[in-house]
Amino acid sequence: MKEFSFFSPGTLDEALSLLSQHKDSVSVIAGGTDIVLELNERAHTAQAVVDISKIKDLRYVKVVDGVVRIGALSTFTDLENDPYIRDHVKSLYSACYYVGSPQIRNLGTIGGNVANASVAGDTPTALISLDATVVLRSAAGKREMKITDFYSGAGKTQLEKDELLTEIYFDAPTENMATAYTKLGKRKALVIVVIGLAVLLERDCNNICSKAQVVIGAVARYPKRLPSIEHYLVGKPITKETFEGCRDMFSQIVYDMIPTRASVGYKKESVKGVANKTFNSILKDFSLSGGEE
């Protein structure tokens, strides 16, 4: 590991002032599960490393006025164990549940997962399906943007060197909504996502889909909303048959996203199974037949 100075601020203000001082060459670590490896392998160098994990104020899950607010330093374990997330935001719960290993879930934070913009992040896929907003702060002030706008493509984000991602929030799913996330991996644990699919559906009193937010992760460079699927679903009854009707669309979408990638043959087929699992979970949440046993 190359040399650097290390800072461990206890408050957000302190952290922001450190970032503005060192913004020319600074790395922020929360859990450190990604950055410490890069530092150790000398793939990443910085003159200053700011460890924000001691900022206790950034570790919370709260629901205020119908909005779910998650502090960026909440670990995957925090979220998995949070009763509200578990019972009401199943997509995010599942995304956290299937991250890496217990050790990584205990260290890794949702803020880090979002800010690192890794192709293989699980939670960004779920958060995009929840139409989440990220809060970025710097010594100069605060700005907010939709998480979709936060990603500017290919592993890049809108985060400036002197900014911290401090909070992620989204509208609390209502009684008429169900969410789900499915991760396809190559084994059962410690695995990088091959396909991640997150869905939020809303139904009206006639069981007609009134809103659909569908996001696929790990296929393109960053998670993508699938407007054609969403468009297909809205206005249709929420049934197994409806879902079966869009399986081939998923396949085509995946093919169109990565037509020349070696993995396309597998991904375009398996995405149908992933979609099936995801929609089954939705049906189950809505207590409709055809869902998981």
Partner: protein, 329 residues
């Protein structure tokens, strides 16, 4: 849809190097307080040979397992052990250990025979005692025996070496005796294949192994269980990816071995089959433990979806590709 299948496979495995001499040796000394130093060349890499050697020495000497201290694989202390490979150490170093113990026991028997006035061949060494097989009230403790040894200025030392009875193989036809003895095994695997994602889940594995004699059941089972899970990796997960001579996945995040969540429920069955050659008939299990689980899992996948895979590993990609071909037919 999830489809289940079951498959069977067997194997044989010659113990020791193929058609080559591959000896190993051991030194032993029974000390005056009846504790024992065993010096054996064999390297214990976690399979448990040190423990097995101690058990063999204790049995042969009639002492307890706790009495034996083993120094292993230190070239200035221990004699040649050969490699810990070819599942050979229980058979070969085991026999060497037994022979070393037997030599020390020869001296012990001489002295005990004089003391008890019982012919050497009638003496039984067991549970830290020496007694006559004809009349077990004629007995002495090991402590008494060692005191007697001291009195006579005798030392209970032994050296043993063993080379399995093989011949060189004919260079043209490979005729000859490649191994002294073979271990056998049969494995039955049950899998579940997700026909939508191609994932193969290994649910249960039964693995029955003829080990000749089990020196230590828990350790034999440990070998079998580890072998089954390594076989699972071989069959459905693992592959070194390389191109232009460069290994692309030399790390655990890219070369996937099974985790605790992937390992199937394993039922190991230890089969003992009388034999002459091993120490107390023990053959070997280290490599046999792995081998049949690989074809058994492949056969189970075939049973589930009707595809005779001829290339490993069987990945989800392969499963979906073959299922697709099936549909086209």
């Amino acid at each position: 849809m999830k489809k289940r299948g079951r498959g069977v496979a067997s194997m044989w495995y010659g113990i020791g190097n193929t058609g080559l001499p591959n000896p190993a040796a051991a030194f032993i000394e029974v000390l005056s307080d009846t504790s024992v130093n065993l010096m054996v060349g064999c390297a214990d890499i976690g399979q448990g040979s040190t423990t097995a050697m101690a058990q063999i020495a204790a049995e042969e000497l009639g002492l307890d397992y706790e009495d034996i201290h083993v120094t292993s694989a230190d070239t200035m202390v221990t004699p040649e052990g050969g490699a810990t490979s070819a599942s050979r150490q229980t058979l070969i170093s085991g026999n060497a250990t037994k022979l070393a113990a037997r030599q020390a026991k020869g001296t012990l028997a001489e002295v005990a025979s004089g003391f008890l006035n019982v012919p050497e061949e009638d003496l039984i060494f067991r549970n830290r005692e020496i007694y006559s097989c004809k009349d077990n009230s004629v007995r002495m403790t090991y402590k008494e025996l060692m005191a007697e040894m001291k009195k006579h200025g005798r030392l209970a030392v032994g050296a043993g070496a063993y080379n399995p009875k093989t011949t060189y193989l004919d260079p043209q036809t490979m005729a000859g005796i490649p191994y002294e003895v073979y271990s056998y095994a049969t494995t039955i695997a049950e899998v579940e294949v997700d026909t939508e994602t191609g994932e193969v889940e290994v649910l249960k594995v039964v693995s029955a192994h003829d080990v000749g004699r089990s020196i230590n059941d828990v350790m034999v089972e440990g070998q079998i269980e580890g072998g089954v899970v390594m076989g699972e990796g071989f069959a459905v997960f693992e592959k070194v990816e390389y191109s232009n001579g460069v290994i692309k996945n030399p790390i655990f995040s890219k070369y996937l071995i099974p985790t605790a969540m992937d390992a199937p429920d394993i039922y190991s069955v230890v089969v003992e089959c009388e034999g002459e050659c091993g120490a107390y008939g023990a053959k070997g299990v280290g490599e046999p433990a792995l081998i049949p689980s690989i074809p058994a899992i492949a056969a189970a996948v075939e049973d589930a979806i009707g595809v005779h895979f001829t290339s490993l590993p069987i990945t989800p990609t392969d499963v979906l590709r073959e299922l697709d071909k099936q549909k086209e037919r």
